[in-house]
Symmetry: C2
């Protein structure tokens, strides 16, 4: 119960050992005793080949447990483990999972295979999955579970409890949604509330009609924000006519929150969200290269600025020594501002109405930090090169560049958001270019203007 | 119910208008009808002065609702809104909130004030908060709610339901924890299960003893990982003797997940986690400056490397033009690798056992991308300067630097983790220094070695 991580390490070792020894039945026994989430962790720790072998073994003996573990592994790795099985096999195995998980896995399988599986599943009455896949990616419809337990409004509390007792295994029941005869969502009642009133009370009298729902086409990030800010355990999903079509539970919301955070972190780092630690090297290479090439173009833009001042550098080479300082510090200051602004937008703290305040604040911080860092840099350059004029040129250039960094770091993500482009995605490339260009322009420009003083001082 | 964001905008406008008009009673009526989470959103949208005024108004009329909204605003802003009230007032108001929220708010108040409030609250029997504050920050004990509803194991199901019906408002009841006579945690039973069995069944027979709990000193990030991976709605917290001391619900876990993601994003961006969009400029400046100064030192290290080659640059100034390209691209490639590795560590995908695989992969991607980007850069430099030898020097330097970037981007965060330093915090400064130093070293070093060819080609 305690120190579960150490326990897992021991388990992984045992699994590896039993597998190496070929002690299949011992291995199966050990695996069968685990929670699906722990099994997923164990599978995650194994190298690809072992993972496939252990999963294969488990599927043969306890396909339900195997599939539950697979769904905990996430759709990418899940699809990888399933990809080499025939469609008939997959259709049978996937029936063990709730349809939102199936939809996510099918999304990650090769298109032909997933189409074949979908057809087989539909024939067996699994039309749920097909209809989930009709919703756009990243919408409430796509991540909801269509298997939602609902009570009709004309029941009594006693009848409701009986219905609940007879219900087959539905996903986490704690809010009971109440619908009218045409399945319009009309109310909600908690399980606890049912226990507190007399059984002959009409459900209508105990249900709350003040309930929060989302439309099936709502963006998943907004769904997550709802569930998080209203502290819900689940949220009902309705179609455009307010008919109840599904439920999204808080565990799915946690996955969304993690995925969206990963996406933001990745985009700020110049990565696409599919890139994982153990994506094949070939895929990672292909995914990262375009971004690097975009950056290469912008680096050449910065280089062209330097080229304009080649004469100045030839006349006073010490300027080249401090070029990295100006550009680097501008980049760092810009990254700080950008990070605060992008995260503020993601968390909903920064909105259109308080934009001006944010801009003013960041500009102030930029100038303040520029002055402090510029002063230190001035002294550093003076000490290193024994040239006060060079130090002054460096210091002033840094103040200018850090002001540009702060302003651009605020305006660019806000501008991209206004254009409905993800601010995390494209901001850093624009801003690096800007701080490089303005940094070199101000530093080498000032250097050119005061070249005479640089020589006198040196 | 739908388009809640647009609805909120309208609300915020109404609040602003009513306040400007001084229509206090209309304003109060409007505010009273809102959900605490919506009130928090509205308060968040207002400028500081209006926020304080609206909150003040609401506290007078409906202090419970006001405090609920305040707790949704988060402890920082919450503390800000309360800071100018006398301790007696605060002690009374804070009694409206669950003690985990109180502890978080007290943490953000000036120390003297929070000590005074704590003493007043303790006198009125609120020793819960004081004991929460005795736990270390970021542990289960600190974020748990000590007000946990528990049943004793010798009850029957019928008695348990009666107890539940009589319980006062406890936080989200859905798992019912079962304890022995000395409050050791022995089992769990779901509300739904209680409905399914005969009332005279002993609780012992229906409870599950296979339950997941955490110790009060467990790190909050690990608590979140547990709740997320086992899809729990709440997790019981026990002390070292396995006595039930509190409960952590999934809504608290969502806050932890968001905070930890923000922290990672911030640390990768060179920020401390307290820095927010609307922190006062003075605070932001003070928080960002140390990081910038550290970066300044490393920028000077890079500058010193360039200084070694000042002679070469003087002899062939075009080298200075491409310095930003080498350093910038190394930095970009390093950021990509670093992001994948840090996020992989945070999500638990990357563990000690699969480190070698990750390193090998990243090195491969680094060389591959280096070759591709280096080739394009070579052609670019050839086109821009008409000097093939310069292009070759640039291309080879970039391949070297991107290999260094990939290797360091993997090894440094892993190394920091081994040293129990947060890999997100310190990695980027080390890596930028490394890629700058190695970039300039390889580019200017190769330039020096092949200076003759550069002149011949140019």
């Amino acid at each position: 119960m305690s120190a579960p991580h150490r326990r897992l390490d021991v388990l992984v070792d045992s699994v590896r050992r039993l597998q190496r020894m070929g002690a299949t039945s011992n291995l199966i026994n050990l695996l069968q005793k685990q929670h699906p989430a722990d099994l997923a962790q164990i599978l995650n720790e194994l190298v690809d080949r072992d993972r496939a072998a252990v999963f294969h073994l488990l599927v043969e003996r306890n396909s339900r447990l195997a599939m539950e573990a697979l769904s905990e592994l996430g759709p990418e790795m899940g699809a990888e483990l399933l990809a080499d099985r025939p469609p008939e096999d997959l259709a049978r195995l996937l029936q063990e999972l709730p349809s939102d998980d199936v939809a996510a896995i099918l999304d990650n399988l090769p298109e032909e295979l997933s189409a074949a599986v979908l057809e087989l599943m539909a024939r067996k009455g699994g039309e749920d999955v097909g209809s989930l896949l009709e919703y756009d990616e990243r919408t409430a419809g796509r991540i909801m579970n269509p298997d939602v337990f609902a009570l009709t409004e004309d029941l009594t509390v006693g009848q409701a409890i009986t219905e609940l007792q007879q219900a087959r295994d539905v996903e986490m029941v704690f809010y009971l949604y109440v619908v009218d005869s045409r399945r319009h969502l009309v109310g909600v009642v908690s399980l606890r509330r049912l226990l507190l009133v007399r059984p002959d009370t009409p459900l209508k009298h105990v249900m709350s009609t003040d309930l929060i729902s989302v439309r099936d086409d709502t963006d998943q990030e907004e769904v997550a924000r709802h569930v998080a800010s209203y502290n819900l355990l689940a949220i009902p999903v309705v179609d455009e006519e307010n008919k109840l079509v599904g439920i999204i539970t808080v565990d799915d919301v946690i996955d969304v929150i993690k995925d969206e955070a990963t996406e933001d972190i990745y985009r700020l780092g110049g990565l696409t969200s599919e890139d994982r630690v153990f994506s094949p090297a070939r895929d990672s290479l292909k995914r990262r290269l375009p971004w690097l090439l975009v950056n290469l173009v912008t680096a050449f833009v910065a280089a062209s600025v330097v080229k304009v001042f080649e004469g100045t550098i030839g006349a006073f080479t010490a300027l080249a020594v401090f070029m990295p300082v100006v550009a680097g510090m501008g980049g760092n200051a810009a990254t700080q501002t950008l990070t605060v602004i992008v995260r503020g937008l993601a968390l909903g703290e920064l909105t259109w109405s308080n934009t001006r305040k944010a801009l003013f604040k960041e500009a102030l911080v930029g100038v303040g930090n520029g002055a402090a860092v510029g002063a230190v840099a001035m002294l550093g350059a003076w000490a290193l090169q024994g040239n006060l004029a060079l130090g002054l040129v460096l210091g002033v250039a840094m103040i200018i560049n850090m002001f540009v960094a702060a302003t651009a770091g605020t305006l660019i993500p806000l501008g991209l958001k206004a254009l409905k482009v993800d601010p995390a995605l494209a901001s850093s490339v624009f801003i690096t270019t800007l701080t490089d260009v303005f940094g070199f322009l101000s530093f080498l420009g000032l250097g050119t203007a005061f070249l005479r003083f640089l020589h006198q001082a040196g």
